[in-house]
C-alpha cells in the first residue's frame, strides 16, 4: 500500500512537517521540513547528548586473573548497552538521598566466570546478571540482539583464569560520557545538491563525478544548468537517520529528544516568568531545565512528560509514551507501533 503523508498534513501546515521513509526496531529514517535549521539541529544535538539512559559507571573487581587490566575491563563494561526502559523513574545518584548508590538510583550487575574447560572461554554481555531490587524487570539488563543471544564480547579467559566483579549502573547523559548515548548514530543532512553552497567539496577535477549523490538527491530538484545563485534561499528539508545502540527504540529516542528539549525550554519559561513576577507560573518544585529535574518530584509514571508543568503552551507530547510496549504503549491510533514480538528484551 502506498502511503501519502501529504493527505493529512493540511491541518497543521504552518508547523513542522514529518515524513517517515523507514521505521523498524533499529532505525527511523525521516524527513523534517517546513522549519528552521536551528530547530532541526537542536533536536539532533539533544538526541545525541542529552537523553538519559543507563550505563555501568562503577566496577568493583574481586578477582581478575585474565590477561586484561582491571581498568581496561571496566571501560569495556561501561560501553555495554543496557536497557533503559523506565529510566524516568530512576534517580540520578547525585540527586538521591542515599550514600553512594541504592536501588532508587542504580542497578547492580554481577559477572562471575571461570574457565574450567581446556578451551579458551568467551565472556559475553549475557553473562552480566542484574541483581537486587530494580525499578522494573528490564531496566539495566544488557541489550542482546544477535541471533545466538550472546551480546557483545567482554573478554576471553584461558583455562584456569577467572573474572569476578560487581558493576553499578547509573543514570546519565551522553554529555557526561558517550556511553550514555542512546543512539549509535544520527544521520543528518540537507540540501543534497549543495545548492546553498554550505559545503565546499574537495575535488580533483570534477566534483560531480567524484562525489556520489546522496540518496536524498532524488527527492529534491537538481539545479538547472547555469542557474544563478539564490542569495535568499535557506535550508528547509532535513533528513534524519536515527539509529539506536539498543537502550531505547529509535522512535523513542526521537520523542524523548523532543521531550528533553521541551523541558529545557519550559524550565526557562518558569524561571523567567517567576523572576519578573508578572503573573508568572509558580513552578512548584520544578527546578530548572537541568538534566536532573522534571521527573524529580513529578511522581513516577511512564508517560514522562506531564510533571509539574503540562503548561498552557503546547499541551506537549500527546503521544510520547509511544512505541515501547511498557504499560500499553498504545497510541491514539490504536496500534502499538512495534509489536511486542520485536527482537527487543
Amino acid at each position: 500500500m502506498d502511503y501519502d503523508p501529504m493527505i493529512m498534513d493540511d491541518a497543521e501546515a504552518l508547523g513542522p512537517v514529518v515524513k517517515i521513509s523507514q521505521a523498524d526496531s533499529v532505525r527511523v529514517k525521516w524527513e523534517l521540513s517546513n522549519t528552521d535549521i536551528s530547530f532541526a539541529n537542536s533536536l539532533r544535538r539533544v538526541m545525541l547528548a542529552e537523553i538519559p539512559t543507563i550505563a555501568i559507571d562503577l566496577v568493583e573487581i574481586e578477582e581478575n586473573s585474565s590477561v586484561l587490566a582491571d581498568e581496561f575491563i571496566a571501560h569495556r563494561l561501561g560501553l555495554i548497552p543496557l536497557n533503559a526502559e523506565g529510566i524516568d523513574s530512576l534517580l540520578y545518584s547525585r540527586d538521591c538521598d542515599c550514600d553512594g548508590c541504592c536501588e532508587h538510583c542504580s542497578v547492580r550487575l554481577i559477572l562471575h566466570a571461570k574457565c574450567t574447560g581446556d578451551e579458551n572461554m568467551h565472556v559475553f554481555a549475557r553473562d552480566l546478571v542484574p541483581t537486587g531490587d530494580r525499578i522494573n524487570q528490564v531496566l539495566g539488563t544488557p541489550i542482546i540482539n544477535d541471533s545466538e543471544g550472546l551480546g557483545p564480547l567482554i573478554l576471553k579467559l584461558r583455562p584456569g583464569q577467572e573474572i569476578k566483579l560487581e558493576c553499578i549502573a547509573k543514570k546519565g547523559i551522553a554529555k557526561e560520557h558517550a556511553k550514555w548515548a542512546p543512539s549509535a548514530a544520527i544521520g543528518f543532512e540537507y540540501d543534497p545538491h549543495n545548492k546553498l553552497h554550505h559545503l565546499d567539496l574537495w575535488y580533483e577535477s570534477d566534483p560531480k563525478a567524484e562525489w556520489p549523490p546522496s540518496e536524498y538527491a532524488a527527492w529534491e530538484e537538481p539545479p538547472q544548468e547555469g542557474e544563478p545563485f539564490d542569495y535568499d534561499a535557506v535550508p528547509n528539508r532535513f533528513y534524519f537517520n536515527v539509529e539506536t545502540a539498543g537502550p531505547l527504540p529509535p522512535d523513542v529516542i526521537i520523542s524523548e529528544g523532543i521531550k528533553v528539549l521541551q523541558q529545557k525550554l519550559a524550565g526557562l519559561i518558569h524561571e523567567l516568568a517567576d523572576e519578573g513576577g508578572d503573573g508568572g507560573v509558580n513552578g512548584d518544585g520544578y527546578n530548572g531545565g537541568g538534566p536532573r529535574s522534571p521527573e524529580y518530584g513529578a511522581g513516577a509514571g511512564m508517560d514522562g512528560f506531564n510533571g509539574g508543568y503540562t503548561t498552557p503552551f503546547g499541551g506537549a507530547a500527546a503521544g510520547n509514551q509511544s512505541a515501547w510496549g511498557g504499560a500499553g504503549g498504545a497510541t491514539a491510533y490504536g496500534t502499538t507501533p512495534y509489536g511486542a514480538g520485536s527482537s527487543w528484551s
Binding site: 513542522p16 536551528s38 554529555k175 557526561e176 525550554l265 519550559a266 524550565g267 531545565g289 503546547g314 496500534t335
Partner: protein, 146 residues
Amino acid sequence: MAAANYKHDNTVERSFELFVLQEGEKKITEKVVSGMSNCSDFLLLKEDHTLGNLLSAYLRMAPHVMFAAYKIGHPNVPEVLIRVQTDGSITPREAFLTTLKQLVALYGQLGREFQKELALRKYADQSENAAADAAGPSGTSGQNGI
C-alpha cells in the same frame, strides 16, 4: 585486588558540572544593557549551542525584535549569553518569553506529527507485509487483520 571505593571518589563529582546547576545558580538571568534602549542580555548557565542557536534564531524571526544573537565566550565555560533588542513596543523579556512558548508549542506539534506519521508508516508496512504474505504460496490470509 583493586577495588574502587566510590564513596571517596571525588573526581566523579566534577564530571557533570558542565550541565548541572551548582547550589545557588540560576538557569537564566536577565541583565539590562545600559546605554542601549530596549536591550537586555540573558545569561544561561550550564547550556550550550543547543539553546543558544535555537533561541537566537527564533528571536530574530519574532516580531518587534530588532536584534538577537548569542555567544559562548569560551568553549570550556558552559554559559550562553543571548542579547536581545526590541523596537520598544515589547520588552526583551516579553519577546524572549513569547519565543520560548512558541518553541515549546512547535516541538509539541512536531511530537504529535511524528507519532501520527509513525502510526501511518507502521500501518503501511503491515499492509505491505500482509499483501506479500497473501501473494506468497503459503500465504496465511488475515493474519495481520487490521
